[in-house]
Symmetry: C2
């Protein structure tokens, strides 16, 4: 595990923003009168589903790849990911012209494998367990000299993920609350640092599936717990929060709320139907918390980060 | 049938734009590098799926309702529609504070019935045939004194629909081609008048399902034909083109191309997956023509009107 200094501050996030600016979208913030009326609040949705590779992960991976010095970069980068981070690292490595090794579980969705292949990365398949992923990734690094870019326990990844909140706060004045989902905690920790630095009075609240509520439990216990996970449709959030991420969360986040699977599906569907945008289940988790009245929104100006839009249209949750 | 003068010109469309401005969205135009690379062209998608009521129909209906003089307006408006036009008339009437009578087939989708009800309109059900719809609508008008607002054979509706093209041409300089689908021809005729007036060198090409190709057949024959229709997933385009609409199409449109059902489904899915937006099957018809290489796009700047985003998420075409 990477030892995380307290050196991730908003300046570092702003430097990340400068570094990645040419390679990512400044995504739009969209509003919906109907959503505002329903909730008696002003909601501002930061559309990272429109981001490169279809998710915010493009930010952190690009920052991490472009922060490497020339000699290190040449040896390539490696990561293990079945999802958006793998595609994000593959794309960033292609942009920098260096090799990328992506360790993926052998049962990964074909569409995800194709996305990584499309960026010319070297895919290494492994058994679909956390241990197998880490072991195979270590093996690749040993053999190639590539640098590990962990999907959330990496300072440069965290700084990169924080850039979404920087844009949101720059574009929308007077936000009183900012919400995002939490899985490994890369987005949440970057968001919390950016938000609390740029606007100290803002509240930062994360939402987590009740079926994978390690962060909520850890937050209440005051120490990081590794919990048993049940299945959640929000597949991007099944992972445990990282230790460095948790330390930032303890310092900078106001609350973690949990949501039911039914609320996630319902929130996802509501956003598709009302706002006519495609978001993935993980991205619907903060709005699920709003629908379940887990948060007092009344008349507040609330930023909601919609984290991504990569879904399998042949397996939509309301068909399951 | 309304006798259509040649009086619909771009000034009338601009006047419509002023009239409805406060009640509709100026929808965004979005681009996708991936779509551009795939097609070797610059595509500009006018997102009427983000329009009020989820479709461009809000424009024409609002213009028609707000053009009525006070005494006429007070007696209310009526239309027959199983789809977006019904919701658009209901909403516009509510905004003006006048009664709306919407004749809908008894087998209309519940979500569409709820949308019309939500605007407080009076729904009159009828048998699901064209004759029954028109007869029932005439009966309602006879009884109430309401004004018929036909969904495409109405000058003010046509002028309103043309405002989407006005915005697109204002926002994107140098367009060489503009594409939209054709059903009754309200959007196409308004678009063609606006586009050819504002930018005479522009080409206007419409796309139509091969299974409902009356406009393409009529265009080639030089006279309006009423053809047999097969089933098409693009339910908004099943109707025959109107006579006044066809006259404008003959004068102002460069070509009508037809597309297969497979291409419509594939285009819809490609736009969802690549652009992360929800569009309805009818809205995918122009991009289906692009995917089937029905149009030479090479290196052109092309505007594509995405007409709407109202889909039943329980009956997506790739599940059928």
């Amino acid at each position: 595990m990477v030892e995380l200094s307290k050196s991730i501050d908003v300046d570092r996030i702003r430097a990340a923003h400068e570094r990645i600016r040419a390679y990512i979208h400044r995504t739009p913030v969209i509003t919906s009168e109907r959503m505002n009326e329903t909730n008696g609040a002003s909601l501002f949705f930061k559309c990272e589903n429109f981001q490169k590779i279809g998710a915010f992960k493009a930010r952190g991976a690009t920052n991490a790849v472009f922060t490497l010095d020339e000699a290190t970069a040449k040896r390539g980068v490696a990561t293990h990911s079945s999802g958006n981070h793998g595609a994000a690292v593959a794309r960033a490595a292609k942009l920098r012209g260096i090799p990328a090794h992506i360790v993926m579980p052998s049962n990964s969705a074909k569409v995800k494998i194709r996305a990584v292949e499309g960026y010319g990365a070297h895919i290494v398949f492994c058994e679909p367990t956390e241990e197998a992923r880490e072991a195979k990734c270590a093996e690749v690094i040993e053999k190639t000299g590539a640098t590990l870019l962990h999907s959330f326990e990496n300072e440069n990844v965290i700084a990169g993920q924080g850039t979404a909140a920087v844009e949101l706060l720059e574009d929308i004045p007077g936000l009183e609350l900012i919400m995002c989902p939490v899985g490994g905690g890369g987005l949440l920790s970057g968001t919390a640092i950016a938000a609390k630095s740029m606007r100290p009075q803002i509240k930062v609240i994360a939402a987590e599936p009740a079926n994978a509520d390690d962060t909520a439990q850890s937050f209440r216990a005051g120490r990081r717990l590794v919990t048993e996970k049940k299945f959640t449709i929000a597949d991007g959030l099944r992972t445990n929060i990282g230790q460095p991420n948790f330390e930032i969360v303890q310092r900078c986040v106001d609350d973690i709320v949990t949501v039911s699977e039914e609320a996630i599906v319902s929130a996802m569907r509501t956003i598709w139907e009302t706002m006519k945008i495609v978001i993935e289940p993980s991205a619907a988790v903060p709005y699920a918390a709003i629908m379940e009245n887990k948060i007092d929104l009344r008349e507040k100006r609330v930023g909601v980060i919609l984290t991504g839009g990569n879904v399998d249209l042949d397996a939509l949750p309301w068909d399951l």
